[in-house]
Amino acid sequence: MPATEDFARNLRTMHVVSAASAFALLATTLWMMQADYADEWRGIQRVAYEAQAQQIDDDLLKLDTQEFADKEKDLEQQVKAAKEAVAARQAEVDPASKEVDHLDGEFQRLSRELKFQNAKRDKVRADYDLKVRDGLTSKKELEPYREIFDAEQGKATEMDLKLQDLQLKFDTAKAKLADLTKPRDEALAAKKKYETELVRLEKAKEKIAPDPRTQTGVAFKRWLMQLPIIEGFNGPLKLNQIWLPDLTVTLGMKEAARYDRCITCHLNIDRVNTGNVPAYTHDDHGISMSNADEYLHGKTVTTADGIRVEKTSRVRSDGSIVGYAHPFSTHPNPDLYLTAPSPHPMQKFGCTSCHDGQGSGTSFHNASHAPDSPDIGADWHKKYGYSYNHFWEYPMFPKRLREATCLKCHHNVVELGVNPKFGASAPKLFKGYELIRQYGCFGCHEINGFNAGKAIGPDMRLEPQTPEEAERIAADPSSVAGTMRKVGPGLRHFAAKTTRGWAENWVEEPQRFRPETRMPQFFNLTNQKDSHAKDLQPVEIAGIVEFLFSKSEKETLDHWAEGYVPDAERGKVLFSQRGCLACHAHGDFPGAKADFGPNLTNAHQKISSMEWLYSWVREPTRHSARTRMPNLYLEPEKVGDAMVDPAADIAAFLLSNRDADGKLVPDADGKPVRDTVGPDKFKQIEWKKEALDELSRLYLSKVLTNAKVDETLKSQAYPDKEAASIRSVAIKPDEIELIEGPITDKTLLRYIGRRSISRYGCYGCHDIPGFEKARPIGTALQDWGRKDPTKLALEHIEEFLHHHGEPDVDGKPNPQSTAQRAQAAYRNGLNGNFTSEEQRDRETAAAYFFDQLNSHGRAGFLWQKLRDPRSYDYKKIETKNYDERLRMPKFPFSESDIEAIANFVLGLVAEPPAEKFVYRPQGAAKARIDGEKLLAKYNCTGCHMVELPEITGLPEDLTPYELAKSDIPESLDLLLKLKPPRDARTKLKLPSGETAISFHGMLVKPPDPEDDPEDQSSFYDLWETISLGEKDKFMIPPNRIEVKVKKLLSKTDGRGGAFAEWLVDDSMKGGGGTKVERSVAREMAPPTLYQEGLKVQTPWLFAFLQNPDRLRYTTVLRMPQFNMTSDEAGKLANYFAAVDGAAYPYQEVPQREPEYLSAKAENHPHYLSDAWKVVTMGPPTGFCAGCHAVGGRPFVAGDPTKVTRGPDLDRVTNRLRPDWLQLWLFNPKLITPYTRMPQNFANDKHVFPELFGGNARDQAVASRDALMNYLRILEKEGKATAAAPADSAGAAGGKQ
């Protein structure tokens, strides 16, 4: 008890304070619960469910038609009528029904008894077994137990029989009853079936939005379960997550399982309707959190007749339906992502493995969303309180960089750009890859796809540069050799090609000489504008050229025949026809725009020796062993009586004198003349002796003491001790240039040249003598996407971009800085002030990257590094040594190129997921990828078209093909087997509302501009078999399809073959001397490789690619010999087969098998002999021999208007696949619509009445068999001797 009644504080007040504090604690506790309950995802889920309910309402509304109601009513009536009909026979139904019930009861009772009985039996069997276990072995001992078992088993069997009996009775009774009630049952089933969709929708609705009036119980439960606290017990709103224990995320160097809770808010992301169509179509301006209320609940408006709630219409004024914005929409590409049949099902891949971001975050901010531009970020900040989470290492990639993550699993990249099933799924990334490949970034920046033998990403490395290196790698099973060639020309024999003056000019600024060159610029950049660099830079340039010339190795040059006068005019024609234009552009041929090789318009100003050029075009590998320029077989040949040396003519053409605009400057006779000055007009660069000394001292002081440097320069001799140590090491330092002989200015210059080549890494792209063992100079890029941003050397870039950063306009400094540009883009983005989508994309991209740079992000760093690599030296050169200045050259990239490269480089993270997620194609898919890389490497598509143009529109005539009288019926079957028909109907509609179809074909006649625009149409030859949905009705080649211009929706250019197309047009215009028809012109051009895999045997193609012999006589050029390995030839050969789903690498030729031949011989003695006759029989009755050399008989040229020399037939046996050959023989135009080979075996003509009963089909089959057994027959039958008077041959349509 208290000692005194006086308390220090008033007890009443204390009570009040205590109560108040208790209430405060209660209030904060409730506040805490509320704060937890108010998580934004709950609100989003609520709206998402409402939106789902509304979508169901919409679907229900579609069923809410008069038609539906009528039908439903009708069915209702039918049910009623049927019920009445059954009721009329109630007297029969009742007893039947009773009988069924009775039997059912009986059956159930007996089943139960049987079950019990079986249990009893099992027990006594077990008892018996236990006795055996306990050692009761004698019959006597066991007998009682067995008897018990037998008794129980007997009972069970008896009951089973009874039950079967009963079953029979039961079934009969049921059938009888069903028969009686059949009309009613059927009517009910029909009604139920009709209402399935309705019921499904109503059920779905009940689940997420039960109607409180009609579904009070469910609605109450749902309401109750959403209350705070209670909702913790399995309420309807909950966190959804995908757990990916194998697809880990690296957190602080530890691999942690990935938890993706994105689907908590993106609830509809994987909802698709039938046909894999997004159920909640994405629409950036669709229903979102900010406007959902208007769409779902409407707003209250006061009208004349009172207050009303108006919902915003989901139909826009243009008739389109408002879709769903994030987070309510479905993924826009369900074919490729998320759905179970797609290659990336959501449950297996989650979300953040592709998008990055913080999967475990459940708020907008914590998820680390990333805006595509700062203005969007500002908008998000306003709406969702977004701010950049600096600490999460994997923020989501913004839209413009989102393809980067594909690289984690798709190390081959190619499948993301060229894919038969999904098209270009990551076009930007693929473009970045292509740019890196073409510009050779890997020469300086190694992109090693392997770490200790384990694949970690795309592999882009230079191939081994020396035989020793190649050997070492081959011997080490854990290392893989690089495959990329240096992208620049080899400089090993540089001196033979040009002059020092030209070379110095080129090195200084390549684009000055050739604006479209890919060679980057090393000099005159932003960190070389000071007077110091102005002095030293010329020494470096002169040094590099001095080094290259002095080290240049001797090259033996060829000379054209004595007395031969190269003809530049003829050279021009040969240049255009022999395929040069497939890779090179030239000002004289403005239509041909190839950029695989350099533009050759100015070649005469660069090349100092015509002999060199002559040797180069004849045999490129002599000059540069690893060149991609093929050997074009430009051998001297006889034309008429005269010898023509195409290489010399082409060289003469290229070295003809031209004016500044690239126009030929002819002599008095109008003939082109040789540019005699050539590269000599380029003056050598001037440099100062002091600058040479300064630079020499700078470099020498790195290896020698200052005193020794002085001594060396004074005595003009390198110190002995140091020289000896240089001689003794394996990898020589640059000072090796100074150790032999006296040190003159020339040797110093060469030393500076070598130093500069080392410093600028010229050998990353060029083969330079002395640098075979040099390593790439740049930062390796294979894990650059994870580079610690604090390690980026940002220097004063922010300040630089504040004042500069934009390229000059017309030679004057740009008044606008990058910071101003970005600010303007930001404001324009906020206010929607862009004039075009293109401008928006370009400018907001700049703002995005600038913003990234300011937040020290990798993307921003990369962007500026590629835009202006030396800008990072802003205000740094003043405090640096000259040789410490940045040296990355400036590449001619556009900003969109840079964005593409950023996608690629940021995707290089060297964090491959578990092996099962990495895309490792096998078989045909791998063959395709390997082949695609080679197509690009050797520019196969420069000449050959590998995919035909796709025409989408509505042809005038869609009559399906009917078998003609002349057609061999089997030809159609074979055609459909080789080329299964494709459904040509598209989802696209013409303006008139008709459905468009698409087909692959070739243009045969462009629209005539003279025609009335209404009637203009183009004509195409159909190359594939297509169906229009009707069974057994097809359109097949060579159907000539007319498409009116107004009914043409789109037309692609096909893939590749730009040169072939150019040559066709050129030949038609008479570029080769005479004008020819389109079909002839096509035969003159490189052939289309459409479905080549079905045509040729892979082993033959393999051999042909390595050593292409002359195949066609119609073409004006030959397939050149590429500088490829046998491995590459094999891959390329496999590629064509893989693309067309044909067998590879080996093919069966059943026609050569004894079984086949003996079966034939059974019906037809001397089968092969007769077949041989069909093939070799000379005119007038035979026809093969008219155009082809066959059976040892050479081709004899006849009337060139009638006879075209076809390929020699001795190759057929190894070259063609039997089925293809058969179809070709049946009717060549089914395969190649433009061919001039006629349909020789027509069903209605009997060409060889005496052979095979005159049956054209049998003759065609026999021809194929003869050709497939060519050598065997030739051996037996001997050479065909009769000469064919070719001009009277029955081929070439002569007989038709």
Partner: protein, 444 residues
């Protein structure tokens, strides 16, 4: 788009609320002094000041639409001045100076009006400084908020102590009874103590919960053993210890000195022989012990926490409160060991080194020879100095304490002094270690 906006509308509004709170406080204050019968001039002055605060507050809350043109901000000149003086030695000297000043002026400072003016000054300084981006970044960090409040709390309790102590000292001087004697009201455990404690507990829980909701803990990068944050800071209460690491080897700063602090605090009752000051506040009667404790607590512990929190930035460099924490800022940190000073600078000869491959005792000999001066100095400091002090400044202490107690006391004092001494040596002579024997992981 602007990564470091100097001011934003939200910030201006926030500062406005701070001014309004200060306005409310001063209105209350004005009424208080009015009730206590202050002169009209003074009331008028306070009223005017309060009104101005109110107007400034309203201007902030309503007028922040264009942050770029907002006028009421910390003058750039002042900021530049503060940043230019941002050096640890200056900071430490000023904090010692402030400490002395507080002791000296204690009788003035405890006057309510003076204290109130200081409080106003502190809040105004805060509010004006908040207009600076870099200041906001440091002070506004959610985990620095307790340290900011600690500044005010420490100031308040120090003030409270001095108020009581000065009062009692005056009473003793005037021969009046002590405040504690005069106000000798014994209170009951129940309900006065336990009930109050329970209420405090409940209120504190409520405050913590509310704090937890309002100020979310910041989400930072995933922990990684290979990549530590820059700067890596200890929890705020250990920042004083962390600061010692700048001057001492980890084993000293992290093991010996903290242990000495703990042991020293435990030993206090056994060392203290002054019977006065028991159960009441006083300063004059316990000058030595209070000054010693306050020196250890205020400049050496709290001062270093503030330094570590607000002034140490990336790379553990020293930054002004208005200075951008730029990782690229470099400071010259070339320090030399005492042995180098002695051998290289003094004797002009190389450091003694044992011949390569010498036996361990030869190595030990050379190491000891190399560090002999430092070792001797340390020995003098810890072994001789206490005796010298015993016969000079601590003569009376020594007499009353006896040898052992005195030695414990003297060593504790010397250990406390070794931090400022080392600081001084570092700043004055760039001295790294007095004894540097990395071979044995022994550095002082």
């Amino acid at each position: 788009m602007t990564p470091h906006p100097d001011l934003t509308s939200e910030v201006i509004r926030g500062i406005g609320w701070l001014y309004l709170i200060l306005f409310a406080m001063n209105v209350f204050w004005t009424f208080q002094i009015g009730r206590r019968g202050a002169s009209l001039t003074i009331i008028g002055a306070w009223a005017t000041y309060a009104t101005m605060l109110g107007l400034v507050g309203v201007a902030h809350v309503t007028g922040g639409a264009e942050p770029a043109r907002f006028l009421i901000r910390m003058p750039a000149g002042f900021k530049a001045l503060v940043d230019a003086g941002a050096k640890p030695e200056l900071y430490f000297t000023l904090s010692i100076g402030l400490f002395i000043l507080v002791i000296r002026l204690r009788e003035t400072l405890v006057k309510p009006t003076v204290a109130w003016i200081i409080l106003n000054g502190m809040v105004l300084f805060m509010a004006l400084s908040m207009t600076d981006y870099d200041f906001r970044q440091i002070v506004g960090k959610p985990d620095n908020v307790p340290i900011v409040s600690m500044l005010f709390i420490v100031a308040f309790f120090t003030w409270l102590y001095f108020k009581r102590a000065v009062d009692n000292d005056q009473r003793i001087a005037a021969g009046r009874p002590l405040f504690e004697q005069e106000d000798n009201e014994k209170v009951l455990v129940w309900p006065d103590l336990v009930y109050s404690e329970m209420i405090c507990m409940v209120v504190l829980t409520a405050v913590l919960v509310a704090w937890g909701i309002v100020l979310q803990a910041p989400l930072e990068e995933p922990a990684s053993a290979v990549r530590t944050p820059n700067p890596s800071k200890a929890p705020w209460y250990f920042l004083g210890l962390q600061e010692m690491l700048v001057y001492y080897d980890p084993w000293m700063a992290g093991v010996v000195l903290p242990s000495m602090i703990l042991v020293g605090l435990m030993a206090l009752p056994y060392i203290d022989f002054n019977k006065k000051g028991n159960g009441y506040y006083t300063f004059n009667e316990r000058k030595f012990s209070i000054l010693t404790f306050m020196f250890g607590f205020l400049p050496l512990w709290i001062g270093l926490i503030i330094l570590g929190t607000f002034l140490r930035g990336p790379n553990w460099n020293f930054f002004g409160i208005y200075e951008f924490w730029d990782v690229h800022k470099l400071e010259v940190l070339n320090n030399v060991n005492l042995s180098e000073m002695v051998w290289v600078d003094g004797f002009k000869q190389p450091l003694p080194v044992a011949a390569a491959g010498a036996e361990w005792h030869w190595q030990a000999y050379y190491i000891l020879k190399r560090e002999s001066v430092g070792l001797i100095l340390v020995a003098i400091y810890l072994g001789v100095l206490p005796m010298v002090m015993a016969f000079t400044i601590f003569r009376s202490f020594f007499m009353r304490m006896g040898f052992i107690r005195y030695m414990v006391f003297a060593n504790l004092v010397l250990f406390m002094a070794c931090l400022p001494i080392k600081m001084l040596l570092r700043w004055a002579l760039n001295l790294k270690y007095i004894v540097a024997i990395p071979e044995w992981f022994f550095n002082i």
